[in-house]
Each structure stands twice: as C-alpha cells, then as structure tokens.
Symmetry: C2
Subunit: 581 residues, 2 copies
C-alpha cells in the first residue's frame, strides 16, 4: 500500500520497525494531552497508529497541531519508537511514531456524530452522512466482508466450471408479480424498458444457448412498498445449470455453502438436512424454519377434541409445542406469552398452557375441561417431561401454524436457543407449484411461471392444480430464506399449459414471453437453477439484523437516498425529450 504519500499504512507497524523513519497518512481519530506530551490516534482503513509529540523537544510541532481536530486528514513523518505503555488490543500497540514533520492534507468540520464502533448518531443522520458512517469499523468491516464473500463465491463457481455472464439491465416489463421500475425510451416515445427483477429468462436463454453452467452476481430491482428489510435494488448470486435434476443442484450448491462456511467463517457445516414444504409447515408452521432448535409442532386433535371445550372442538387444528424446563413459569410469564400471541402482528385470540409439574401433576389453563388423565395423554403425545411447559393453539390450520410459529420463535429467543454464531442450514423441498389467491380468485406461481411441475404431477395440472408439486427448493439458514430455485420447464407445450393455469391468454403469454417459448422450439436442454440473496447471505453470516448495513449506499423505507436527496424532479427539457408529462 506504499505510495508517494506514505511509506506504510496505519495498520502495519510493530516492534520490528523500531527506529525506522516512516511516513503515514490518515484521519485523526483522537487527540489526548498528557502533561508535556500530546498523542494523536491516526486512523486509516488498515488500523490505528499512535503519534507522539513532545512539547519540550519540539515546541513548534506542538504549536502546529494545536488547531487540529477530529477527522482532519494529515501526513506525518517520524521515527518508529517502542511505546512506554503498550496497548495489547491492537496490532500496532507496541509502537508509536515520534513525529518530526506534519502536513495537513485536508481539514474537517466536526462530524455530526462520533466515528466510533457505537456511534451517538441516529439512523437518519448516519444515512445522510453515509460517507462518515462508512468510516465506522462495524460498517466498514461489513463491506469488507461482502467483498471477501464475493471473491470466494466467484472463485468457487469458476473452479467448478460456471461462467459468469452479464445479462442486460434494460429489458422488457413483465407485469406478473412484483412491480418493475421502468425506463422511458428517448428514441421511441411512449415505449419503455424495465429494470430486471431477476435475470430469470436470460439465464434460461443462456441454457438454450448451451452455456451449461452460468452464474452472475448481479443487481436486481423491485419497485415494491418496502418492508422493514427490503431494498429497491438488491444483489443476487444467480445460477443455472443444464442437464441436471434437483439432486444435482442441491449437491452442487451444498458444495458452495460448505466452502463459504469453511473459507469465510472457518466452520465445517453438517450435511444439509432436507425437509418437504408440507413437513416444514406441519412441524414448524413455516416454509423457513429456524432449525437451530427442535421444539417441533405436535398435532393434538385426537387427544384434545373429546371433551366439552368448544374452542378446540371447533378448530381445524389443535397443535402444541414443548418448552423444556419451563414448568416453573410464573402466572405473569404465562400471561406475557398470551399477550405476545394476541399482538396484532401474531393475531391469535388466545393460548392454552399445560405445566408438567415436577411432582407428576399437570396444571393447565383449561383444567375446567380436561382432567389429569387427559393432560397426561397430551404430555405423552408431545413427549413432554416433568418440568416442561406445553403451549397449545387452535383454529384454522394455516393461520394457527403461522401463529404457533411466531410463538415457537419467541420461546426460542427467551430460552436462548437461537444462538448467534450457530448455523443450521435446511433445504426445503417439494414446494407446491401454484398458490390460490382468494382475493383475485386465481392461481399464482409459488416460485415463478417457469418452474416445472414434478413429472408425476404433470397429468393433473389442469384438473387439480392445487395438488401439483414442483421440483422447487429453498435454502434456509437459521430461519431465513437465503436462496431458492427450481427445475425449469424446457418444453414449449408444458410452458403453454403453465401460462394457461396462471390465467394468461395465449396472446398475453406470447407478448410477454414469446421470445422464451420461441427459444424452447430450438433445442432447449433440461435445466434448473437457484438464486441466493447476496445481501441477505452477508447479513446472516454476520449474525446481523439488517441487510442495510451490508450495502454501501442503501435507500430508506421510502426508497429515498437521503444523502443524495433522490428521487428528484428532472428538467422540463429532459421530460420533453422523453415525451413525458
């Protein structure tokens, strides 16, 4: 990192450099005065080095640095000296620089927040001055991590024969699914490009073109109302392979994930377990279970529907989980859990508990309806032991599963079972091909309209579309979906049937996806793929809550960049040139 401005960085000097004359550049992190000595912590990307100024030996220099403040950029030349009191916490802690010469490269106003690991700046302020926020170690390290992960993924993919191919950003709009960002054409007024939500159709065309193994780390765009942790532009690791079955894809990308965890985190992960979508819903009430802890759902319909308790008797599903060792929960704690499930975000009407007391007795919120025998049967069915707490919910199947899923995760948090630094990966497989939407009274593609039905279900696509499963799969880490994919349709007629099942007219299908169906006429190979959310993968691997801290210049929840203050109006001349009003 040596340049005409510096001999070393602020991160590399140590005891071996003592007595060398060096020149460093960087930002002033801190200035301290101690008697006749002044110390400056000089910071650059690589670390911090202490500069020392002795008022007696060098009064002129000390005078020169008097006006200096935080974040000024300076260049110093001096002698590396062993420190009197060493700092074992940093690699340069054994030495300091006895400064002989100093030059101000740029001054700085006092930053609006502290450039420390824990800053005093609020979100909004830090986003407005993102270039200062990025100086903070946690944010800087996140972006360094992202870079390292990108390099690792690219090299791994290259080594196993995948070719990175850039697909276009100015493509056609596809009204299906999420909203597109559009780009007006200047040359043909009234016409538009759209920014890709994913390179899906292009990667399929690349398979038709015979590239066999394609990948790309690529920006994608979705003009959606932003939920807490979405961004209008996000990055995918997009992959596709030819002449493969689901098994090939799962194995190939299990290899990638193993490599990433080993290379980046130093962790040997277990072979990745697989669970069907149906089982994931049944046992965890979610298609992205956090499997770091077990606490599986147990269906209790048969042991709880024989008494006079209407809530259970009328429910489609009665289902419970066991919280190990929680029989000692106080009334207040139990009420707290009830309050939790009653929150609008969960939306349940109530919660039934059974305490399996140490003395073999059971205590429950439905003691009126169920005797000890009944409750023992419940405990047995659940595999609950003395000392455990059983939590039970009931109602419509899907809704109840989702609600109990929330409670399960909450119990995982309370019991410390969702440990940072522990990673549990899961393949969720056998997704349904289609999903019925009550509101619009039609089927939507669960994955996307190019996903192939399982061959054994092809025959019932028209007659029982809701029962058709797909060779579609998600990879889930610690309860977060970080990627998903499927075996694609490669037959023109099958693709037509699929569009029909989704309620497309032939013309609509032809207008929007004609190029793909045309391509399928010219020898499309069997193919499939997967796409990983790169931002998400970064955040999961770093146990972080938000993808925003892994994006250099993110947008806020209103899709604004508050630093640039965009979007913004454009000139009348520009509008006119684009034929827009």
């Amino acid at each position: 990192m040596k340049t005409m401005y510096r001999t070393h960085t602020c991160g590399e000097l140590n005891g071996q450099h003592v007595n060398e004359k060096v020149t460093l550049c960087g930002w002033i992190q801190k200035i301290r005065k101690l008697g006749g000595m002044t110390f400056i912590d000089l910071r650059d990307r690589y670390g911090i080095t202490q500069l020392a100024f002795n008022a007696e030996q060098n009064p002129d220099l000390c005078k020169q640095i008097e006006p200096f403040g935080r974040e000024w950029v300076i260049q110093v030349t001096g002698i590396v000296t062993e420190r009197y009191s060493k700092n074992k916490n940093i690699p340069t802690g054994d030495i300091e620089i006895l400064v002989e010469e100093i030059q101000v490269l740029n001054e700085s106003l006092t930053p609006p927040f502290t450039i420390e690991d824990e800053s005093d700046g609020g979100d909004e302020l830090r986003m407005k001055y993102r270039y200062l926020d990025l100086r903070r170690n946690p944010v800087k390290n996140n972006l360094m991590f992202r870079h390292k992960l990108g390099i690792a993924i690219r090299n791994y993919m290259n080594n196993i024969g995948f070719v990175e191919i850039e697909t276009p950003f100015l493509i056609g709009s596809t009204p299906e699914g999420a909203r597109d960002f559009v780009v007006p054409s200047r040359l043909t007024h009234g016409e538009f490009y759209a920014l890709p939500q994913s390179p899906q159709t292009f990667k399929q065309l690349l398979m038709v073109a015979g590239f066999d193994r394609y990948f790309q780390i690529v920006k994608c765009f979705r003009d959606e109302d932003l939920r807490s942790d979405r961004q209008p532009e996000f990055t995918q690791v997009d992959c596709e392979m030819s002449f493969v079955t689901q098994e090939d894809i799962l194995n190939t990308f299990e290899g990638l994930l193993k490599y990433i965890f080993k290379e980046i985190k130093g962790i040997d992960i277990e072979p990745i377990e697989r669970i069907t979508y149906a089982d994931a819903m049944r046992f965890y009430g979610s298609d992205k279970p956090d499997a770091r802890f077990d606490m599986r759902f147990v269906e209790l319909n048969d042991v709880l529907k024989h008494r006079d308790f209407k809530v259970f008797n009328e429910a489609e599903l009665v289902v419970g989980i066991v919280a190990k060792g929680c029989a000692n929960y106080t009334r207040k704690q139990l009420d707290g859990l009830t309050d939790f499930v009653k929150r609008p975000q969960v939306g349940a009407s109530g919660l039934v508990y059974v305490l399996c007391q140490e003395d073999g007795h059971f205590k429950s919120s439905v003691d009126k309806f169920y005797n000890q025998e009944d409750l023992r049967a419940v405990a047995e069915k659940c595999g609950a032991q003395a000392g455990d707490l059983i939590l039970i919910m009931a109602g419509k199947t899907e809704k109840t599963q989702k609600q109990l899923c929330e409670l399960r995760l909450e119990m995982g948090n309370r019991l410390g079972l969702r440990k940072a630094g522990e990673y549990k990966l899961l393949w969720v497989i056998d997704f349904p091909l289609l999903e019925w939407d009550e509101e619009t009274q039609r089927y939507y593609a669960k994955h996307h309209p190019f996903t192939a039905p399982k061959p054994e279900h092809e025959a019932i696509l028209e007659t029982e579309p809701g029962k058709v499963n797909a060779n579609a799969y998600d990879i889930v880490i610690n309860g977060t979906e970080v990627g998903g994919g499927s075996i694609r349709i490669h037959d023109k007629n099958m693709q037509k049937r699929m569009f029909k099942a989704l309620g497309f007219t032939e013309e609509e299908a032809q207008r929007q996806f004609g190029f793909l169906m045309n391509a399928f006429q010219y020898g499309a190979p069997p193919h499939g793929g997967i796409a990983f959310g790169f931002d998400r993968l970064c955040s999961i691997l770093c146990d972080a809550d938000t993808i925003r801290d892994f994006i250099a210049f993110p947008k806020n929840n209103s899709a604004r960049d508050v630093m640039l203050n965009i979007p913004s109006p454009i000139s009348e001349a520009q509008l006119k040139e684009l034929g827009l009003k």
Copy 2:
C-alpha cells in the same frame, strides 16, 4: 460436470476411456451416413464427440434416429471405442461412442442459420435468435474469454488490497455531459431516479469514507445516439485510490495490465511508454495513437513555406509522414490515397506527395513550385530515404492533424503495420483540463468536472483556463482508448472554482453536486483513479472489431433488443401508477 443426466461432457473423452460405458448429452451438430454407418457429431459447451450407429448390428436404433435433425437435444449411452480414422483436430478425435441407448430430450426446428464458426446468418437474424448465435464457437469463446478476464482482474485487484464495493444504480440525474436514462418514481410522482453513467461520485465518496482502494466491475448507462460501436449499457472496471499521485496510479495499473497480458494472452509486455497529450497530437494527430508503427508526423512549415505555393503558404500547418519503401507507388495508387483523404469521413481537400526515387531524384505533385533542392530538404527533414514516399497535408492545425492521422492509419493498414496479435500500450498524459466549445461558447471538462488541475496551473484557472493541464491520463492500446482517469479535486473550494470555470452557478453546483462538496468538508483525502472499458478491453485483447460480440445480449444501433422487441409500450395502469403521460 457429471450430473444425473450424463457421466461425461462431449469434450473430455479420449483414448484412455476406451471400453468405458458412458452417457453424454448435447446438441446434434451434424448427421452423416456412410454405407451402413450413421455418424452424429454431438456438441456441448465443452466440445464435440462422434456417435456411431451400425445399421446391421442395431437396426432399431438406426430407425429411431431417422427423424433426428440439427440442434435436437439428445442423451446417449454407449461404449467408448477407438476410431478407425482419427481426427487430430479435436481432443476427442481418437474415439467415438458406439451407441446402445438414445433418448430425445428435446426436438428442434431447423435453425434459421447454420450453427458454424462462419454462419450464413446476417447480423439482424443472428441478433433476433441470439440464443442460437451464442451456440457458435466464436461468440461462445468471446463470452468465455470475458469471464476469464473478469476473474483475473478481480483476483489481481483483491490481491493488491482493492475492495470491490457495489454502488447504487438508482441515483440522481446529472444533466452535464451525455444523457441519462431516467426512472420515474412511483411513490413520489414527478420525481425520477437516473441510471449511472459511471460510479464517479460514489467512488469519490468511498475515498472520503476511507476505503483507500476501491474497484468495481459494473454496468454503466448512456442514453446517446449510438455510434457504430457503442452500447446504451456497457461495463466498466472502475477503480479509485487514496493518498496517491498520478505516478502511483500509472504504476499500479501498469501492473494490472502486465498481469492481464501475461495471464490471459501469455505475453510479456514492455514497460508502457508515456507521451503527453501535446506530443500525441503533434506526432500522431490523435490522443489515442496506434503506436504499433512509427510513421510520426514531421512539421514542414519551415522547409515548404518559402516558395510560391499558396496552399502551403496560407496553411497554419504543413505536415508530412514517410511511407517506407513506397516510392514505387503507381499513379493509380497515389490517386487512390488522394481519394481516401477526400472522402467525407476524412474531409481533406487534397494531398501532396514526394517520391524519393532510388536514383536520388525526387518526383512530386508540386514539382511546379519546388525544385529538387527544396524536395531534398523536405526528405532530409523527414528522414526519408531513397525508395520512400512522403505524404504531405496542410491547413488549420487541428483539422490537418486529424486528417493526416486518418491517412497514417490507412498507410499502416496498407503496409500491414497494424498487426493482429501485436500489442502496443501507451499512457497519454497531461491532458488539458478544459476544452472550449465554439457552439455553446463555453468550456467543458475534457475528462469530467472532478478532475484536478495540475498544482502548478491552479493559479491560472480563472485567467487562462485553456492553458490549464490536468493530471489526467488515458491508457491506449493499438490506437484505442481502453481506459482513462485522473487525480481528483479533494478540496471544496477548488471544486467550487472548477464548477465556476464550467459555467455552473453556485445553486446549480450545489443542487447537483452538493452532497460531494459537503463530503469534502469532512476530511477528504487526496485521491485519484481510473476506469477501463471492460467490453472494449475484451475486444482489443481478442483483436476483434466490435464490442457487441463480447456482450451476451447486445442492443442494436437504435438501442433496441430485437430478440425481446424492446423497448415496448407499458399498460395504462402502469403509466397511471407512475403518474406519467
């Protein structure tokens, strides 16, 4: 590349595999019948393998393949057998597969053009069926090359401490320079994002943020009327460094270029020569000279302005080049050169020649005005020998330089001096900071508004703006600019002066670039960088004429994708949602 569909690819079997049972997948390249034998060339990304079918031994199979045609996708199982007549031109040429089983994976219509190295399809047709065009080896190999180059660049940059950071695609519009593509905001009607023409301001912010060494291989967008070899979306290798001088940047990226040539082409390049912008114009009439051959311009004002030849006497510049060994050019050839310079693309009014004959005499098109002595003086000044041809042009300096530049390149072509496979790299340095535009009567930034004047020229920025040079540089390979950059302004006041010199009002500057000038108040380090045209670099390294063949899905000269038929109208509902008419 083994999958559930195949044991090997079509590129890997050889004599060592004889007698193995294998399964291959691929496309039918060719079907030949020879007596009782049928041969199929099966192609995939990795190569071609010959399949053999014996009508006597296996009549059923031969019947099955009867309807097969070009580009059908098949899966075959059979025994690897030594070939009777070997094909030494391909790695699999020693063997063929005696097929036992065959399955059609997909049929194909007859492609609209041949899938051969030299196709019979015209440009338009091949673009419409780009997925078929991409099956052709030359196009496929270009994209493989691009991938390989990308991996090499990323690893080199990573190894020398550069961090790849993704900058946003939805940014603000900057009316300066080329036109932006804009993206209407759905959430705030009447407001727009713009797609970046380059990540220039973001990489500067990353330097302010302290990342020290940044790079990115990234798509950029320019809504310009497309000249022959431009694309509305193109890819840059974008780089920026802190605490550097021009010298550091030239050395760093000379290292990258050396590495690329060695790694990708197996060529050790010479240390890269440097030439000032002024000298490049003086000696080659171009800021991107093709220096594979010398043929430098020689100014002849002092030896040709003393006679009664008005054309020269009234010219600002009389300038010549020497074509070695061309004194034997016929009248017809010489007239051809005159026609060449009179073409509208060159636009000269004429050409003067001097033939330096073997016998020591000179023959010229201006014998009327100049005697043998005069012509000898010209020859001496030019360093021309007996047998050489001197070509002379005259007129306004800049115009004449450009015209003679065209003639020089033409002579280079005619004399075979611009050899494919030979690479001459040049740094062109000391560019002027500003460029006067006659039409709008104002200065424009020669590079961009963030380029710093040379420190010794700072004082005259307001008084003699046309004389200010910049620490700006281009890298030129074989007469094509493949990259350029500069040392940037890092001082808020200097940036203000620069905007003023470019005719920005304070408000305009603040509105468009306020975020950058704000950032400069908080400790911006000295910094500079460079950006390479990645598409261009690919094409130059492969001695190709057009960048289009290195882009998977390019647009045509009207910025249309003829395969997708975009841009295209969007629905009324979409327009309404965006608040557009």
